[in-house]
């Protein structure tokens, strides 16, 4: 299946600012996509090896259709994955 990956700052440093189109096996999970990205940039290796969602979300938020994607969530053909920085709030 084909996915589009759109990096936002600061991930453009590692991946460039243009969207990336990836061909991955049907039913690939986010973790598997991060493993593919890790081949482009070593910065993504620890993210691909994340021990859990909450740890990942402290480093990177991946959105698809406005929803946060989990590590072991299967993706769909045509998904656009936005790589966004982690968020907090408060002062």
């Amino acid at each position: 299946m084909r996915l589009r990956v759109v990096p936002y700052p600061p991930y453009r440093d590692a991946l460039g600012k243009d969207p990336i189109d990836l061909d991955v096996p049907d039913g690939s999970t986010l973790r598997e996509v991060l493993t593919v990205l890790a081949r482009r940039s070593a910065e993504f290796q620890p993210l691909a090896s994340a021990r859990g969602d909450e740890w990942l979300w402290g480093q990177l938020l991946v959105h698809a259709r406005g929803e946060i994607v989990r590590l072991d969530q299967a993706l769909h053909d045509g998904d656009c994955l936005e790589l966004l920085p982690p968020i907090a709030g408060g002062r």
Partner: protein, 632 residues
């Protein structure tokens, strides 16, 4: 003997008479009220501060640490300050990090209660059990950077950070009673007790600064056990929060824009997609960032330091932007000039104003200008067109200095100004406290949270939007984060979040521990190591519930109840694109009704069910006649 984790002493200072003394902090008080503004809730209630003029001598300004201050527990060098708010007329509180709380505690005091009014400007110098009221006439009129540095010299600064005395002070805004004046610590590194006008209360007492230094030990029940426990966990906290610490709180701005969360054009606009490239943490890193800043005992380091070296705002060198400041003074005003927003931050910090309320009232004024309700004649010549950062920066300065008629009027706060000009419809507040930078249309829980928070629109008193996003609470029935538009789950989540945060805020933990993977059971363990009380999570969360409901009772006695648990029409009638397939509006009324049912609060009168009061050991609320907020 002092309860373990505490010094057993609340320092009481009467600035009218110049007398000071100590009220004992007993084990029972520690168990029931924990510390921070929990202790403040009990104290202010006992002293009937709900009857006081917020800017009069009978108001009590209460600074409090918690049981973790002065220990090795990370992210706990924090204090809370509370009083009746001059901005809202109801419960007022603000929380602050930096380098101050540990020194008050190690000087021998868990809390400081200031009442009365000195007949000339003074500052307090509190060190190892000694208390002095010193003349501050030479400091009056100075900004907070200069005040901090001068007081530090006068009381004796140490060789390096951590050995210095802590100085909490006000700037011209507090002196001149700007209703959203802040109390600042750490000078140009700028940590703020920003919200609800605590700086104006301090100024109304002619109190310019409180300097603290302490070397005493805090009694801890099991320090070796605590150290062993923390040794294992510190690395995890740093690793989990790494991404967040790398770019600071403003690092997430691209995400906030995507999620339809941050304020844009006084909450009118869905997205400001060109702005994140220019005014986010990443943009700061590429341009003006010079380093990171850590509050005392912090290991995450979300703070920034910056230096603007070129352009019209060259020369700004101080604390870097936080998310709230960047939003309310950037996107909220359609300003995407990083240096300009940083300049506004500097003015707020120097003058001592709340960056949230400062940006909010300017955003309101810009909309009023856009609508023709005010003209350039009214604005003392400032062109308040959306995006005009020069005008916004100058107005920020003038408000802090209380300079000029227009700035004086805005210094009364958004709601009072809105009432003057007939703009209440687009004043975005609850109880007169301006919205922080999280949209309830993006996180439904915040609709209920803002409406029911004791100090007004406040995302921190429940932190529910975080539990609707990236943090689970398995011990409290949430094995996964709740979906941000789950209206059915939001009321209970808000109630649980409020009880939990009342507990955290009273222990004086930084909430960013959650971003380091810390869960309530970890904090419970730390509490039991420090105090030796061996309480259960349920017992501590019940203490949090007691504290939250006590503050609600305070508000009822001020004349503020369910009639003030409101949402601005813009937020419940104008939908927002939050990046999902459909535009979003929170079903506020239904969620609020369910919240009242869960809390067992009467939705008409505000009465708290007798069985709740009995269980929590709280007084029956004094149901005063309704009084408008922001009118005292």
């Amino acid at each position: 003997m002092a309860p373990r984790g505490y010094m057993g002493a609340i320092l009481e200072v009467d600035l009218t008479s110049g007398a000071h003394g100590v009220r004992e902090l007993t084990q029972e008080m520690a168990d029931r009220w924990l510390g921070g503004t929990g202790l403040g809730a009990q104290y202010l209630w006992q002293e009937k501060v709900y009857q006081a003029d917020p800017l009069g001598p009978d108001n009590v300004l209460f600074f409090a640490t918690g049981p973790f201050a002065g220990t090795v527990v990370p992210l706990s060098n924090r204090f809370g300050v509370c009083a009746r708010s001059p901005l809202t007329g109801v419960w007022g509180e603000a929380e602050c990090g930096g380098h101050w709380a540990n020194d008050l505690k190690k000087a021998g005091y868990d809390a400081l209660a200031v009442r009365g009014r000195a007949d000339h400007p003074v500052y307090l110098w509190i060190h190892d059990g000694e208390v002095a009221i010193r003349d501050a006439r030479h400091l009056w009129g100075q900004d907070t950077f200069a005040t901090h540095d001068t007081v530090l010299k006068e009381v004796g600064a140490g060789e390096r950070r951590g050995q210095e005395s802590g100085v909490a002070c006000i700037g011209p805004a507090g002196e001149r009673l700007v209703r959203f004046a802040a109390i600042m610590v750490d000078g140009k590194d700028g940590r703020a007790a920003g919200r609800a006008g605590m700086g104006a209360v301090m100024g109304s007492k002619n109190l310019k600064a409180v300097a603290v230094k302490g070397t005493r030990d805090v009694p801890i029940a099991d320090e070796p056990g605590l150290k062993r426990y923390l040794a294992d966990i510190r690395k995890d906290i740093v690793s989990t929060s790494k991404g967040f610490g790398a770019l600071g709180t403003a690092g997430g701005i691209p995400t906030h824009d995507k999620m339809g969360n941050w304020p844009i054009k006084n909450w009118q606009q869905d997205h400001f997609s060109e702005a994140p490239d220019r005014i986010s943490g990443a943009a700061m890193k590429e341009s003006i960032l010079t380093g990171r800043y850590y509050c005392g005992t912090c290991i995450i380091g979300c703070g920034r330091t910056v230096h603007v070296k070129e352009g019209p705002y060259a020369g700004v060198e101080q604390a870097g932007l936080e998310y709230e400041t960047t939003s309310l003074n950037g996107s909220n005003l359609l300003v995407d000039n990083l240096a300009a927003v940083q300049k506004m931050n500097e003015w707020c910090n120097r003058m001592g104003t709340d960056t949230i309320s400062s940006g909010a009232v300017i955003g309101f004024a810009m909309e009023a200008y856009d609508r023709g309700l005010i003209t350039r004649e009214d604005t003392d010549g400032l062109d308040l067109t959306w995006g005009n950062h020069e005008a916004a920066a100058e107005l920020t300065r003038r408000m802090g200095a209380r300079e000029g008629t227009f700035a004086r009027r805005l210094g009364e706060g958004t709601l009072r100004f809105a009432r003057e000009i007939g703009g209440e419809d687009f004043a975005i507040h609850v109880r007169g406290l301006d919205f922080p930078a999280h949209d309830p249309r993006a996180f439904f829980a915040n609709a209920v949270a803002y409406a029911t928070s004791h100090r007004g629109a406040d995302h921190l008193s429940s932190f529910a939007h975080v539990f609707q996003r990236v943090v689970s609470l398995p011990e409290l029935g949430y094995p996964e984060p709740v979906h941000r538009q789950d209206a059915a789950a939001s009321p209970r989540l808000v109630m649980i979040g409020q009880n939990l945060m009342s507990w955290y805020d009273s222990l004086k933990c930084c909430k960013f521990l959650f971003f380091g993977g810390i869960k309530p059971h970890h904090v419970l363990d730390w509490y039991n190591f420090v105090t030796g009380r061996n309480l259960s999570l349920d017992e501590l969360i019940e203490a949090g519930e007691r504290i939250f409901v006590q503050k609600r009772i305070f508000n009822l006695a001020c004349g503020s109840g369910p009639w003030d648990d409101t949402m601005p029409r813009r937020i419940v009638e104008q939908s927002r694109d939050i990046g999902t397939d459909e535009r979003s509006l929170p079903p506020f009324r239904e969620m609020l009704a369910e919240y009242y049912r869960l809390r067992k609060w009467d939705p008409e009168t505000g009465a708290v069910a007798p069985e709740v009061l009995e269980r929590l050991g709280l007084p029956t609320p004094v149901l005063s006649e309704r009084r408008p907020v922001a009118a005292v």
